[in-house]
Amino acid sequence: MCLAIPARIVELNKDNAVVDAMGNSFRAKTTLLPEAKLGDLVLIHAGFAISLVDEEEAKKTWELLAQIANFEETPNKVSG
C-alpha cells in the first residue's frame, strides 16, 4: 500500500487537519508529523500525514509539479 498523495494543510487544530489536494478537501491526522504547520505541503497516506514535501525538490519532478501548479491556481483558503 504505497498510495500516498501530496496535499496542502488548510486547517490545523492540534493533530487534526483539513488538507486540500487538487481542490478536494478532506480530514487527515498530523500525529505522525508533529512539525507540520498550516500551509505546509504534506504527503498523506491512509488518513495520516507521513512526510513534508520539499517543494523545491518536488518542482524537479513532473507530476508533482503539475499538482503544485494547481495549488497556486486555487484561491488561498488558509484560515486563522
Binding site: C2, P34, G47
Partner: protein, 375 residues
C-alpha cells in the same frame, strides 16, 4: 506577449524533462550494451509495477533489462490462513469488521468479505481512525480492524491503539497483518532460485523507515538499492541509476525520491511502531515463513490484539486452487505463465489476491498488457 512568455517557459520545461528522460534512457542502454547479459531488476513495490505498466515504461526499456515484480503488495503477500481468519470473524454476530478496501474481494475458502457484506457487519475504512470511531459508535459490538500494510501503514495502526488504550475503548481490537519489507528482500536473496541483480526500492515505505534501512541489503548482498517515487520520470531515473551502478560494477544505496524520502525517515512514526509492536516470525504467501518479518502487538496490549482476544493462531494452509501468486510475488514467473491467468482468474472473477489488489501484479498485467497469454 505574456502568453508567448508563458508558452516559452513551458516549452523550456518540457525540453528539460525530455532531456532528463533521454539521459536516463542512454544510461540504461549503455549499461545493457556494456554488461552483455540480462539485467534483472526487482521492483519491490506493487505500486511501482502498476505505474510502470500505466506509463508504458516497459516498452521503452531494452530487451535485456527485465523487471521482476516483487512482494511489495501487502494484500497479495497475506497468507491464505489470515484471510480465512478474517472471514471467520466476519461470521460472528458480535463483531464488526473494519477493513481497507483492497481486502474486501480477496477470496478465502468460504467466499470473501464482499460476500459477507450482506450481513451489514463489514465496513470499509480509509483510515485506522475511522475503524476506532466505528468502535466508539458501536459499543455493543467488537470492532476488529484488519490491519494490513507495510511500514507505511503500521504507524497509523499504532496511533489508534494508543488512543484505544488511553480512552479505554475496550470493544476495539486489531488483527495485525503488518509486514516488514527488508526481511522479505533478504529472504528473496537467500533463496536458491533468484536472479535479482538490483532493487528498485519502495518510495513510501522509505518515507517511514528512511533509505538507510536498505543499507544492509547493499552491504550483505552487494546489490544496488535505489529508492524511487512513482511517477514515470522517477522510475526511469531510478532504473538509470541502477544501470549506471551495475555497469560500473558497483552496489550503492541511493534515493532519487528527494522530495519526501530522507536517510533517517520519519522518526516519530518509527517510535510509534517500536512502542506498540514487536517483530515476530510470520508467513508470507510465496515466501513461506520469514523470521522477524511481521509486526505483532506487544503483550501489554493483548487486550487490543484480536489474535489473543479470540484465541486464534495463524497456521499456513495449502492452496489447492492452482493459483501461482506465490511465484509471481517472488519474481519467478510472470502472470501469463499461470494457467488460470485471464482464463478462470480475471479482475471480475479473481482466484488469488494478485488479481484483486489495486497493486497486484496479475491485475496490472491483466489491465495493461495486451499479451494476455503466452503460448
Amino acid at each position: 506577449m505574456l502568453y508567448l512568455i508563458y508558452l516559452y517557459t513551458h516549452i523550456l520545461l518540457y525540453k528539460k524533462m525530455l532531456d532528463r528522460i533521454y539521459n536516463a534512457q542512454n544510461l540504461i542502454d549503455n549499461a545493457c550494451k556494456r554488461l552483455r547479459r540480462q539485467i534483472n531488476i526487482m521492483e519491490v513495490c506493487g505500486t511501482h509495477t502498476v505505474s510502470i505498466f500505466r506509463n508504458g515504461i516497459k516498452s521503452t526499456l531494452p530487451k535485456k533489462l527485465k523487471l521482476l515484480s516483487g512482494p511489495g503488495c501487502p494484500v497479495c503477500v497475506t497468507d491464505q490462513s489470515y484471510i480465512d481468519i478474517v472471514l471467520q470473524l466476519a461470521d460472528r454476530d458480535d463483531c464488526l469488521i473494519a477493513t481497507y478496501g483492497d481486502m474486501v474481494r480477496v477470496p478465502g475458502k468460504d467466499g470473501s468479505l464482499e460476500t459477507k457484506r450482506t450481513k451489514g457487519n463489514v465496513k470499509v475504512v480509509l483510515s485506522s481512525v475511522d475503524a476506532l470511531q466505528l468502535a466508539k459508535d458501536n459499543p455493543d459490538k467488537i470492532v476488529v480492524f484488519i490491519a494490513v500494510g507495510f511500514e507505511t501503514t503500521a504507524p497509523a495502526t499504532a496511533v489508534v491503539v494508543k488512543e484505544a488504550v488511553e480512552e479505554k475503548i475496550d470493544n476495539f481490537c486489531v488483527l495485525s497483518g503488518h509486514k516488514l519489507v527488508v526481511p522479505a528482500m533478504r529472504a528473496l536473496l537467500s533463496g536458491k532460485n533468484h536472479n535479482i541483480d538490483a532493487f528498485l526500492c519502495p518510495g513510501h515505505v522509505s518515507v517511514i523507515i528512511g533509505y538507510k534501512a536498505f543499507a544492509e541489503i547493499v552491504q550483505d548482498f552487494a546489490r544496488p538499492c535505489v529508492v524511487a517515487g512513482f511517477e514515470p520520470l522517477q522510475i526511469i531515473e531510478g532504473l538509470a541509476e541502477i544501470c549506471r551502478q551495475l555497469a560500473a560494477g558497483k552496489a550503492e544505496l541511493k534515493s532519487v525520491y528527494t522530495a519526501v524520502v530522507t536517510e533517517q525517515g520519519n522518526t516519530a512514526a518509527q517510535k510509534m511502531i517500536a512502542k506498540y509492536f514487536e517483530p515476530a516470525d510470520g508467513y508470507w504467501r510465496g515466501l513461506g515463513k520469514i523470521q522477524k518479518s511481521t509486526l505483532k502487538l506487544k503483550d501489554k496490549f493483548s487486550r487490543f490484539d484480536a489474535f489473543k482476544r479470540f484465541n486464534i493462531t495463524e497456521t499456513p494452509s495449502e492452496d489447492t486452487t492452482g493459483c501461482r501468486c506465490g511465484e509471481v510475488l517472488c519474481g519467478l514467473i510472470e502472470p501469463p505463465q499461470c494457467q488460470l491467468f485471464a482464463e478462470t482468474c480475471t479482475t471480475q472473477t479473481p482466484v488469488g489476491p494478485c488479481m484483486v489488489s489495486s497493486e497486484g501484479t496479475c491485475a496490472a498485467w491483466f489491465k495493461y498488457s495486451r499479451e494476455r497469454k503466452r503460448d
